[in-house]
């Protein structure tokens, strides 16, 4: 999987690159509009992650360029502005998603994964994680070939974990992933815990392993052991 990152802020670029490469992507990083355009003309990426404000141009123009050459790449916009007009325009010209700074790397990762899955649409396409098989399209899950029924939140949680496997994911990022703005609540963490408890129970009932490791005070880690 090839990903192109266009981000002019060095420290931020480093972190994203680091996280994505550890997630098993082949990731290229350029720091400006010109280089970004050149790269997109030369190669077809599975996903392009673009910052809107670049020193020598606008990320939105880069997306328009991609659309002009009928690129099949998935596109995620990174923006420092949570401006609705920018978001609408970005999605209008063909971006797949929009993420506002500051974001969680785990969230960005999950979104890239989701876009790539959608791009490579295939009914047979399943996410296999040891004995767990997830079909993102019909939203079904089976453990040891026995299907289990999960609630929407449990399903989203499982996908989020699998997308960020072997990574520490914070409670905050889970809460934001599952509830978005509504997570400004004291009990959202209890709530994650309650969903997680159900998820674990349902997987273990069918003889699955418990892959979720609690990282005290921070969050969880879904580890393929």
């Amino acid at each position: 999987m090839n990903i192109l990152l266009v981000e002019d802020e060095k420290s931020l670029g480093e972190s994203i690159l680091n996280y994505l490469e550890k997630s098993g992507y082949h990731c290229e990083w350029v720091e400006n509009f010109t280089q970004g355009s050149e790269k997109t003309w030369a190669y077809e990426y599975d996903c392009v992650v673009v910052d809107i404000t670049l020193p020598d141009g606008n990320g939105l123009d880069l997306i328009e360029g991609l659309k002009k050459i009928k690129s099949k790449s998935g596109i995620i916009i990174i923006s420092a502005k949570n401006a609705i007009e920018d978001r609408i325009r970005g999605l209008d010209i063909g971006a797949d998603d929009y993420i506002t700074k500051p974001f969680d790397l785990s969230e960005l990762n999950a979104r890239i994964k989701a876009i790539i899955r959608r791009r490579n649409f295939d009914a047979q396409n399943e996410i296999v994680f040891n004995e767990i098989r997830v079909s993102p399209y019909d939203r079904t899950v089976s453990v040891n070939d026995q299907s289990i029924s999960l609630t929407r939140k449990e399903f989203d949680l499982l996908i989020f974990f699998i997308s960020n496997q072997n990574r520490v994911v914070t409670k905050e990022s889970i809460a934001e992933h599952l509830w978005g703005d509504n997570m400004d609540m004291a009990d959202s963490y209890d709530f994650i815990y309650s969903h997680l408890k159900n998820l674990r129970k349902k997987i273990q009932e069918k003889g699955g392993n418990d892959y979720v490791e609690t990282v005290y005070g921070i969050g969880y880690k879904f580890t393929k052991t």
């Binding site: 802020e9 420290s11 931020l12 972190s15 994203i16 680091n18 996280y19 550890k22 420092a80 502005k81 949570n82 609705i84 506002t100 700074k101 500051p102 974001f103 969680d104 790397l105 785990s106 939140k153 990574r167 520490v168 914070t170 905050e172 509830w179 703005d181 509504n182 400004d184 609540m185 004291a186 009990d187 959202s188 209890d190 709530f191 309650s194 990282v215 005290y216 005070g217 921070i218």
Partner: protein, 425 residues
């Protein structure tokens, strides 16, 4: 009190004062003149009478004396030596058929060798009538003057102070977030021209300052995003390393703080966006359906706290709000009702044509109710709370001219928040 009313009040007081003094003075002067004239007449009659008595046999023939004057002539033995004596008295008047005031002149005289005491009584009635007439005219003029002065004053005020009221009117409608320069017609009054010039200058400067501040806030808020993202993501990267537990805790605190800061910034920039009227467009929203949809997203949280939710929709009002603001308003109110609720508590929602009431069980707020809508005033020590939720709610209600009331009932331990909007809006 209005300037005009105050001025009128002074005018009235002064006018009444001047007129009462003036009337009294005029009355006494008039009375003096008339009295004097009257007495002169009596003395003239006395002389005439004496002349007639001395020269004519028969008094009846004379018609020189005034009709209505009563002449009493008494013959006395010795000279009484009465010099002229004036007294005021009342006598029965044949014509008016009642007691009327008279003035009498009594004197003694020797006529053809005999002594007489003669009294001439003269009715004071014409005299009184005259004074009364004059007084009535005075009062009439006073009233007329007062009324016409009042109208004149009003007219002058309207004309003269027009620029002033224009300025006030424009200042009242002035909003720094949507500045319209003052448009005031030049006046003949130098003071008003000066006032409008000074105001114009002040406003222009304020608009400039406000713009600068706004740009500064926008830029700051924008520029903060990137470093914040770096801190947050670096912390995330660090978390993936093989750290000791205590190191992990430190990193997690950095991460948490950056998350909190991000949320705070988000809230503040939202507030400033609302204040800058960046949410102008509105759409028709069916509040009942909207509430139901929002409540759905809170379902799980309500369940988790085992809260009993009761909704009563008396009506299905349509409001015209900006979609984002509606979302913020309703989400904040609902999430507050859950956040500050107790385990196994309750939430009651009542929707009417013009109002929305949300009542929930909960602990007593730590701050007084009137501070609740201020920025950074938190009613609890919840770490996740930015203290901006209710300020945002307040801002949105102000934008849409809604009334918001908050109450806490000590005995029932319940919070009630009520929104009122104008139906015609």
């Amino acid at each position: 009190m209005k300037l005009l009313d105050i001025a009128n009040r002074y005018y009235l007081v002064v006018l009444i004062l001047v007129f009462s003094i003036g009337s009294l003075a005029a009355y006494s002067v008039l009375k003096g003149i008339i009295n004097h004239e009257f007495n002169e007449k009596l003395f003239a009659e006395k002389e005439q009478l004496i002349f007639e008595l001395n020269n004519y046999e028969n008094l009846q023939k004379t018609y020189y004396l005034n009709i209505g004057d009563v002449i009493d002539i008494r013959e006395v033995e010795t000279n009484p030596m009465v010099s002229s004596l004036l007294i005021d008295t009342t006598m029965y008047d044949q014509y008016e058929k009642k007691e009327l005031p008279f003035r009498q002149l009594t004197f003694s005289e020797e006529i053809k060798g005999k002594y007489y005491v003669i009294t001439i009584s003269k009715s004071l009635l014409p005299n009184l009538d005259l004074i009364q007439g004059v007084s009535e005219i005075m009062i009439g003029i006073a009233l007329l003057l007062m009324v016409s002065l009042g109208f004149l004053n009003r007219w002058i005020f309207k004309k003269l102070w027009k620029p002033f009221y224009q300025i006030i009117d424009q200042l009242q409608r002035f909003k720094i977030s949507q500045p319209i320069p003052l448009d005031i017609e030049p006046s003949d009054v130098d003071e008003f021209n000066k006032l409008s010039a000074v105001l114009d200058e002040m406003i222009t400067k304020n608009i400039k300052d406000y713009k600068t501040l706004r740009e500064y806030t926008d830029n700051t808020s924008h520029e903060i995003q990137t470093p914040l993202a770096i801190i947050k993501n670096k912390a995330e990267i660090l978390m993936q390393e093989d750290l000791t537990e205590s190191q992990m805790m430190e990193v997690s605190k950095i991460y948490e703080a950056s998350t909190r800061l991000a949320r705070l910034k988000e809230g503040l920039s939202l507030l400033s966006k609302i204040e800058n009227n960046q949410y102008i467009a509105s759409e028709a929203i069916n509040l009942k359906q909207y509430l139901e949809k929002r409540l759905e997203s809170f379902e799980e949280l309500i369940e988790l706290k085992q809260i009993t939710l009761t909704t009563t929709f008396h009506s299905e009002p349509t409001v015209h709000w900006h979609n984002d603001l509606a979302y913020m308003l309703i989400t904040n109110l609902l999430s507050n009702a859950i956040k500050h609720n107790i385990q196994e508590g309750y939430i009651l929602i009542i929707l009417n044509q013009n109002s929305l009431l949300i009542r929930n069980s909960g602990k007593e707020p730590l701050i007084s109710t009137d501070q609740l809508f201020e920025r950074f005033k938190r009613s609890s020590n919840l770490r996740e709370s930015t203290g901006l939720g209710l300020s945002i709610v307040k801002r949105i209600t102000t934008q849409y001219n809604m009334k918001i009331d908050y109450q806490y009932s000590q005995d029932k331990k319940e919070h009630t928040i009520e929104l009122n909007w104008d139906h015609s809006e």
